[in-house]
């Protein structure tokens, strides 16, 4: 039997069948694309033949449109994943053809240059960068739709789009941005940074890691294509019975959610297992960086909550395609069942977005203040408190739906309670800044922006959690402004801070902070203009999701649209800074910030296996300004004191 030397140990190897990597050598994004398109066409064709009855629905659409579109979606997902090589691993396992060390190294992208980013590559650093690019693409798509929405609302003297298309823009923008915000921090930071920060050589399940990103890639096209067949006209929540009554575009949305939920579950399992089982020796829970807590918390919430959302869409799909009646009251179904299943994920999902961004801010603030994190344990308590309460607040989205009015007050209480652990996190940030002198760099600017936005979003959220106040605010622009302050104001600006902070580690180059700062502050100003004006429109009573409104709302809508375009320009500037710095920025050393966590102790670019020898942690992660007990002069003094020569 052959052997391979792995970290100075001779390890017996299974039989090598052909070249390392086997069939995976021939599979990549382009074969995935071809597989997806071909299988989608075949499935769609076969389903169309099956339903070629010429029957029509009440509005004279073809009765086969729904099943055919569904078959196309299934074909796309199966074909794309097959073409990428996602099924090779399970089949090899079943056939007993285990990977050799050489196979594993090929799968990790060793020696494949930039082409490894187009493959089913298992290296967590490649997956992290793939998540970053994917998050930027989805943000760009969602942002473009936001521009179109604001164009319609800003042009108050004419109708730019027809109402159906406008509704599609709103719904598709909503879900695209939710997906983007969920992955924008947890994806790149959770995959690239967390394993190194833990002191691990890779994620616990490298192949599942690759599967999670390619599932995300495969989940997005159905949402985009759905715009061509009627789109998602019912907001991102697609309440029943609107969901059931919508055109076939809804099937695209449902496919996206079902596939994305699988991707999230797999990613959550991977991140949680990595953190629990692969932390370096000596990295006790009291020495674990706060970012790891934040990413773990987000993964935990996603793991238990996402299946409810996924099943709300599976049941909706069966109602639509095979005549079940989960949500059809005529046959014993209930639309409230949908709302409950949806919001059982829908509210924890807000914290799935918020907590990682807040954790990034908590992580970088001690670096730029050169101070230990104020009340590290309170920060942990805040994160634990949010996770604990996040599953008990979902019905505050349903105060006005007529479902269980007597439950409104308990949910009001639980919602107001959750502001306490969230408040802990803000207080820890402010406490760390207190009487400090900060290092004025772009990541630190993100701290100020996030705190500002979070205060406004948090305080306005308390109004909305209040049942009587919500009777007025519900369904108007005040709600829209509030959740943008929380989701975009915290997640996006936190992510921009995270990108600025980790850019040297990810790319080996410094970010052009001057250009990026222009983009950042312009985005901040545009953000305040857009959503500050939206608060005013909401207080005046402008309803959400309407195309036409009274002239009294014109001014605030003009301002919002100007603000939105400002954000758009600002994001392009920020993107330009990223691209130019990535291509030709000044080379950065391994630890340009002189940070203390393990992720900054590796060379840049980070080697394939991160650490040649696994590290041992002997101190706290945020001992900035605290004398190093292991400093050479101290050790020498101690030895002299003890009389040792």
């Amino acid at each position: 039997m052959s052997t391979a030397t792995i970290y100075q140990v001779e390890v017996p190897q299974p039989k090598q069948h052909g070249k390392p990597g086997g069939i995976m050598r021939h599979l990549n994004f382009f074969t995935g694309l071809a597989g997806g398109v071909i299988l989608a066409a075949v499935f769609g064709y076969l389903m169309n033949i099956q339903f070629a009855s010429g029957a029509q629905t009440a509005d004279f659409a073809s009765a086969s449109a729904g099943p055919t579109f569904w078959a196309i979606m299934v074909g796309w997902v199966v074909g794309f994943l097959g073409g990428m090589g996602a099924f090779v691993g399970p089949i090899r396992w079943m056939l007993g053809r285990d990977l050799t060390h050489d196979d594993a190294e090929f799968m990790a992208g060793k020696g494949q240059g930039k082409f490894r980013y187009w493959r089913f590559t298992t290296d967590h650093k490649v997956v992290g960068i793939q998540y970053l690019i994917m998050a930027m693409i989805i943000l760009g798509f969602g942002g473009l739709l936001a521009m179109l929405i604001r164009t319609e609302l800003g042009v108050t003297w004419a109708e730019v789009f027809n109402p159906d298309f406008y509704n599609s823009l709103v719904g598709t923008h909503g879900i695209a941005m939710i997906i983007a915000m969920i992955v924008v921090v947890s994806g790149p930071v959770g995959n690239f940074v967390v394993p190194i920060m833990c002191g691990a050589r890779d994620m616990a399940f490298p192949r599942l890691n690759a599967l999670s990103i390619w599932l995300l890639v495969c989940a997005v096209p159905p949402l985009i294509i759905s715009l061509l067949v009627g789109g998602v006209r019912d907001g991102w929540s697609v309440y029943q019975p609107l969901n059931a009554q919508a055109g076939p575009g809804m099937i695209g949305y449902q496919t996206t959610i079902i596939v994305f939920a699988v991707s999230t579950a797999i990613a959550s399992v991977n991140i949680m297992t990595t953190i629990l089982t692969m932390r370096a020796k000596g990295m006790t829970w009291s020495r674990t960086p706060i970012l790891i807590y934040g990413i773990f918390a987000a993964a935990a919430m996603g793991l238990y909550a996402f299946p409810f959302y996924q099943y709300s869409q599976i049941l909706s799909m069966t109602d639509r395609l095979i005549n079940t009646s989960f949500f059809n009251p005529v046959e014993g179904g209930s639309v409230w069942l949908y709302e409950n299943l949806f919001w059982l994920l829908g509210h924890p999902e807000v914290y799935v977005i918020l907590i990682p961004s807040t954790a990034v801010i908590l992580e970088l603030i001690p670096v730029f203040m050169r101070k230990p994190l104020f009340s590290y344990y309170i920060a942990i308590a805040g994160i634990v408190g949010v996770v604990g309460l996040s599953g008990l607040v979902w019905a505050h989205h349903m105060y006005m739906t007529g479902w269980a009015p007597q439950a409104g007050y308990p949910f009001m209480l639980s919602t107001e309670l959750i502001s306490i652990p969230v408040g802990f996190l803000v207080l820890v940030i402010i406490g760390t800044m207190w009487r400090g002198t900060f290092w004025s760099r772009l990541p630190m600017m993100a701290v100020f922006a996030v705190v500002f936005n979070k205060m406004i979003g948090g305080v306005t959220g308390i109004y909305l959690s209040d049942v009587p106040a919500d009777q007025y605010f519900h369904g108007n622009m005040f709600v829209t402004a509030h959740f943008h302050y929380m989701l975009m104001g915290v997640a996006l600006f936190g992510a921009m801070g995270g990108v600025a902070y980790y850019f040297p580690k990810w790319t080996g180059r410094y970010l052009d902070e001057r250009t990026a700062s222009i983009g950042f502050w312009l985005a901040f100003a545009g953000f305040q203009l857009t959503f500050g004006s939206m608060f005013v429109a909401g207080l005046q009573g402008q309803p959400r999701r309407v195309l036409q409104f009274d002239n009294m709302f014109n001014l605030s809508n003009w301002l919002s649209t100007i603000g939105a375009y400002t954000i758009g320009i600002a994001m392009l500037i920020f993107l330009a800074a990223i691209i130019t710095s990535w291509r030709s920025g000044a080379p950065a050393p391994g630890n340009p910030w002189h940070a203390q966590t393990l992720d900054w102790q590796t060379p840049t670019p980070v080697p394939l296996d991160n650490f040649p020898v696994l590290p041992v942690v002997k101190g706290l992660p945020y001992d900035y300004g605290v004398p190093d007990p292991l400093a050479p002069e101290k050790v020498e003094a101690e030895l002299q004191k003890a009389g040792t020569p």
Binding site: L99, F205, S268, Y304, P329
Partner: protein
Amino acid sequence: MSSPVLSPTTGEPVSTVFRRNRLGLIFLIVADFSGTMALIISYCYLWSLNVNNGWAPNTPSLDGNLDVKGRAPLPWAADWPFWAIFLLTVIATVVLWSGIRGLRKGHHAQMLTAAIGALLITIGTLALQWWQMATFPFGLENGAYASAVFLLTGSTFANLLISAFLLTGVVGRTRAGLISTDNPWQAKLVGYWMIWICGAILLGALCTTFLKESSNPTPENFGGFSLVNPDKPTPTPTPSPSASPSPSAS
């Protein structure tokens, strides 16, 4: 003392990899449990509400009329197939674990026999599940109970299909000597999965056996798509000539 078996890809002892995989599997089961709970909650929710008296299996309303009196009641699903499927899955799990236990004592042949036995039982269970779904006395469109039962059994079918795949792998890997006394971990992981699906099938069987007749036999009209104006007195319906006389009239 024999040296530990090392993972060919990472060089770690396979026992370390096993502990990691076991935790990952537990988390995957948590996700699957949440999905199962979404179905169980849906079942119990619709059972407790009995919206528009539409819980029990009925012939469907063709015109959107909420009055169920004109619809023919259909029978409930028989209980025994749910429990037979549960029992067979438990037996498959016990058989697999007996093989793992034998493997610990060095009985490789016992493991192989047990894995084949568990696989055959699971395939039989899959066939029974298919037969049950094909012979329900109602269709998908016959009310909320029918929908919930179909989805629960469909979920069981999917779980059994995954189990059959995993057991096929265990059989092949045991034959190839990849599952051995020194390296029994993957069989154990499949064993844990089997224990979970026993639990998932049990939850479904309990619901379908003990939650049939709704606890809310006289529900209020939940509205829906009725066009009746509640402010106006409802006109007395004119009996149609084809309607059969009610028992009291006769």
